[in-house]
Symmetry: C2
Subunit: 172 residues, 2 copies
């Protein structure tokens, strides 16, 4: 009942966490695209009328869940639910990106703060009446907005490199 | 790999879809609470500093996924990804609710547009720099914001009522 279907993949310039923008607000100029499973193309109808979309995705390279973490933008432990860090009980990411265009099953997007190849779970239209609320209190984040890029603290180590490189046949 | 853990339940005044507010913006005054699995209480640390939180939840009473739907606020078919309707390929809901207080594993919340008993998947802090963006184009929604409450169109029929009522022993 609670299993997810990967509906596509998100592609971006960011191959690893280190240097990836923290949130779309710091990702101006970072563009990418979504390759949606072609089965879902009819579900994109009317989406091209929206300037921005929510992407809900799976943090597939996050370390295991932690109850508290030191977030990218802080130096002390915070409860994981008071952060947007990837090492969550359910490793689900949420980003509002700009939608530039749609052609078939390819969506061109900008303001992308997501690792290259990330599995996509859902797309929703971004609607100010639904998503923009004035708030007064921002907790620990209020004084922690100076940093703009991530580091590797929540990233699973890559598989060790194989000793043998893939070579093309030298006779070709 | 892509299975979800239910981290708690959301409780609200809304037992059925009909009459449930469409989005938190139309749910002023509707309060409720979250019962978090007590194992996750340490993950709530610092969350009480935030006025609003994102809830990511499972539409457990939604009908099966559809590629196009007639949304609550419209009369014509739209691609499901251009709507916030529950009948999604992955039935994941997203709502920004007000956080009133936290006591142990109980979070008191307001502006709740969610059915009573809904399984909770994630909590994130609501941060304007991350979540508020100006947009010009709202697609089909631009002229469709008059309706405030949902109906039953995306709700699975309840189990049929049993013919036999539960009775207390008449001798008691």
């Amino acid at each position: 009942m609670n299993s997810l279907t990967i509906i596509g993949r998100i592609f971006s310039p960011f191959k690893q966490a280190a240097g990836t923008p923290i949130q779309p607000s710091r990702a101006a100029g970072a563009s990418g695209h979504i390759e949606l499973d072609p089965a879902y193309v009819p579900a994109l109808k009317d989406l091209d009328g929206f300037d921005r979309i929510w992407l809900i995705y799976w943090f597939d390279r996050a370390i295991e869940a932690k109850l508290t973490v030191i977030p990218f933008r802080d130096t002390v432990e915070r409860g994981i639910f008071s952060t947007r860090a990837p090492a969550r009980p359910n490793p689900i990411g949420l980003s509002s990106v700009r939608l530039l265009s749609i052609a078939g099953n390819i969506l061109s997007i900008a303001d992308v703060d997501i690792l290259d190849g990330t599995p996509l779970i859902d797309i929703k239209p971004y609607v100010p009446e639904y998503d923009n609320f004035p708030v007064q209190r921002l907790g620990w984040i209020e004084n922690a907005l100076n940093k703009s890029v991530a580091d590797s603290r929540f990233e699973k180590p890559s598989l060790p490199r194989q000793g043998v490189e893939l070579r093309t046949n030298s006779l070709c």
